[in-house]
């Protein structure tokens, strides 16, 4: 009996995963090249970084994690925010609701697509920044792990904003209003230790801080701090996804 149950639940987990992957492939095909993604996901972080780094001497151990964290934040959250708001507006989201797919699977599928986008951008950025600055990543595997977990956290953040907003401009503007201050207090340009006490406290409440810290740890010889950063990021992923499921269910039931 227990075996049958475990087989059945194993099958249903496999079926749900397979549907999530289908949703992710579809999202990648439709949304990766949307102008809004290029604008909010790539151009804004590029301009922000250039405006703060040009003419300044920045060491590679500050430059690479900061740049990668910012690109991941904007890239992963934008795909999620844009795909879900467009689908709600065009009513294609209803196509997913009509199908035998749970909201959790839909959200997971969408977060796979947006996280993959953030991961790809982050890897390209890390390689480019390392080549240009001559920096060296001591532990590439842990660096990649931090990129993956961070991208999932930011995609869940995008999902939550998209689930709560009534349309795409509202989701993007409110998300940008959160993302920009996160950059300044998350250790992208200024090390956390150099921040005033109050800002330092706030910075510990944002996922970007932990991702950048984990990336910096992976650039050197990682300490226990890397595990702590990763654990906090995973908590962010679970909490943000769970809240997004609740909010999306509430806002898409009529």
């Amino acid at each position: 009996m227990a075996d049958t149950y475990s087989n059945r639940s194993g099958k249903s987990i496999y079926a749900a995963m397979s549907k999530a992957v289908s949703i992710a492939k579809k999202d990648a095909k439709i949304y990766y090249f949307k102008p809004q993604i290029l604008g909010f996901g790539i151009l804004i972080p590029a301009f922000v970084y250039l405006s703060f780094s040009l003419g300044r001497e920045i060491s590679s151990d500050l430059l690479i994690p900061g740049l990668v964290g910012m690109v991941s934040l904007f890239g992963a959250s934008s795909v999620e925010a844009i795909s879900i708001t467009i689908e709600r507006q065009t009513e294609t989201y209803e196509l997913l609701q009509i199908a035998p797919v749970s909201t959790t699977t839909i959200i997971f599928g969408k977060s796979l697509a947006s996280s993959a986008f953030g991961i790809m951008l982050s890897i390209i950025t890390a390689i480019g920044a390392a080549l240009l600055s001559g920096g060296r990543i001591a532990n590439p595997f842990l660096f990649l792990v931090a990129i993956v977990v961070g991208a999932f956290a930011f995609s869940a953040l995008g999902m939550l904003f998209a689930a709560a907003a009534k349309d795409m401009p509202t989701a993007n503007m409110s998300l940008t209003a959160l993302r920009l201050p996160m950059i300044f207090i998350g250790g992208v340009f200024i090390p956390i230790q150099a921040l005033p006490f109050q800002l330092r406290v706030i910075s510990y409440l944002t996922p970007l801080t932990y991702m950048i810290d984990a990336l910096r740890e992976a650039m050197m010889v990682p300490s226990i701090q890397f595990t702590i950063d990763l654990a906090v990021l995973l908590v962010w992923v679970v909490v943000l996804q769970a809240v997004a499921v609740i909010v999306l269910n509430k806002n898409t039931q009529f």
Partner: protein, 329 residues
């Protein structure tokens, strides 16, 4: 045998509004069931509850033997749903849309490719299967949407205004394929504003008004339910001043409407009405060009039970046709 759809005391409240109010009905397996009603009567809310998109405030609904609230995913696996809007991905081709939807229903690759080919051929879209939907007309998109709803071979098919605003060719093709499917044993639940469509396709019809089912029967029985009522149509060689009021004052008529050059009157005594019309024509120097009597139509039944008059129904259908006219993109 258990019904394909079993609804008991289904109710949905939205803050202060009751959209569906204690509705109870059953649809047998293989039956073609129509739900008619004016805008805002509760048709779409009923469909949304039956398809697991909206949770009822109270009452129960079972589709294909599963509870729509507690076993929503199991219900969704067994049904096909075509909503009023053609909500497919315009950035993808018809083929890719069907493949994606097939994956969501767990249809294996070989089966979904075989079925997609068959369906696109049946809906006369196979030649355009690789074109993005952005370039499709509304009728073509709706055909793809219905094909998508059929890919996993549903036991019950829900159609919400499937031919609304479509060109004649698409509408006829859709009706014909839906009719064939029903003939093969698929249970069909249809909501439509096109009364003729319901008359032509449905085994049974329910009329819903203000969230309540006011009558339910076969189209023929509904028509005969207006017992003793006849429709007299008369056209004169010219229009006289206040002719409608004159007819209304002289005759015992329940309802009168001018349709083109004809006056359509709903009466209880057709013979007496004809005699009176002839006399009225003589007295006013009018010549009768045509005079017909006929049985009440399903539209007359709809008018009677919804409280809308025939002109309102016509206006409603005209506005819907204009608003939803065939368009690209």
């Amino acid at each position: 045998m258990e019904n394909a759809i079993e609804v008991t005391d289904l109710t949905k409240h939205y803050s202060n509004v009751t959209a569906v109010d204690g509705v109870t009905f059953g649809v047998a397996r293989g039956e073609f069931y129509g739900l008619l009603g004016p805008n805002g009567a509760g048709k779409t809310t009923t469909i949304r509850m039956l398809t697991g998109l909206t949770e009822p405030s109270s009452g129960t609904a079972k589709v294909a033997g599963r509870d729509c609230t507690r076993e929503a995913l199991a219900v969704k696996q067994r049904i096909g749903v075509v909503s009023e809007v053609s909500n497919l991905y315009n950035e993808m081709s018809a083929w890719d849309n069907l493949m994606f939807i097939g994956e969501l229903y767990g249809v294996n690759k070989l089966t979904r490719e075989t079925r997609a080919k068959q369906l696109l051929e049946a809906f006369q879209l196979h030649d355009r299967r690789n074109d993005h939907l952005l370039g499709y007309s509304k009728g073509m998109k709706r055909r793809v949407r219905i094909a998508a709803a059929l890919l996993h071979r549903p036991e019950v098919l829900f159609l919400d205004e499937p031919t609304s605003g479509l060109d004649v060719q698409s509408s006829r093709l859709i009706r014909s394929i839906i009719g064939e499917l029903n003939g093969e044993g698929v249970t069909v639940f249809l909501t439509t504003h096109y009364i003729d469509e319901a008359d032509q396709l449905c085994d049974r019809i329910a009329i819903i008004r203000q969230g309540k089912i006011v009558v339910e029967s076969s189209p023929e029985k509904l028509k005969t339910s207006l017992q003793g009522e006849r429709v007299v149509e008369v056209a004169f060689d010219r229009d006289a001043l206040n002719l409608e009021n004159l007819l209304r004052s002289r005759l015992d008529i329940r309802d009168i409407a001018k349709r083109g050059t004809k006056y359509e009157m709903h009466v209880s005594d057709a013979g007496n009405t004809i005699a009176e019309v002839a006399q009225l024509a003589r007295q006013n120097g009018l010549k009768i060009v045509s005079l017909n009597t006929k049985e009440p139509s399903l539209e007359d039944v709809f008018v009677r039970y919804t409280g809308l008059d025939a002109v309102q129904v016509e206006r409603m259908e005209f506005l819907r046709a204009v608003k939803g006219g065939d368009q690209h993109g």
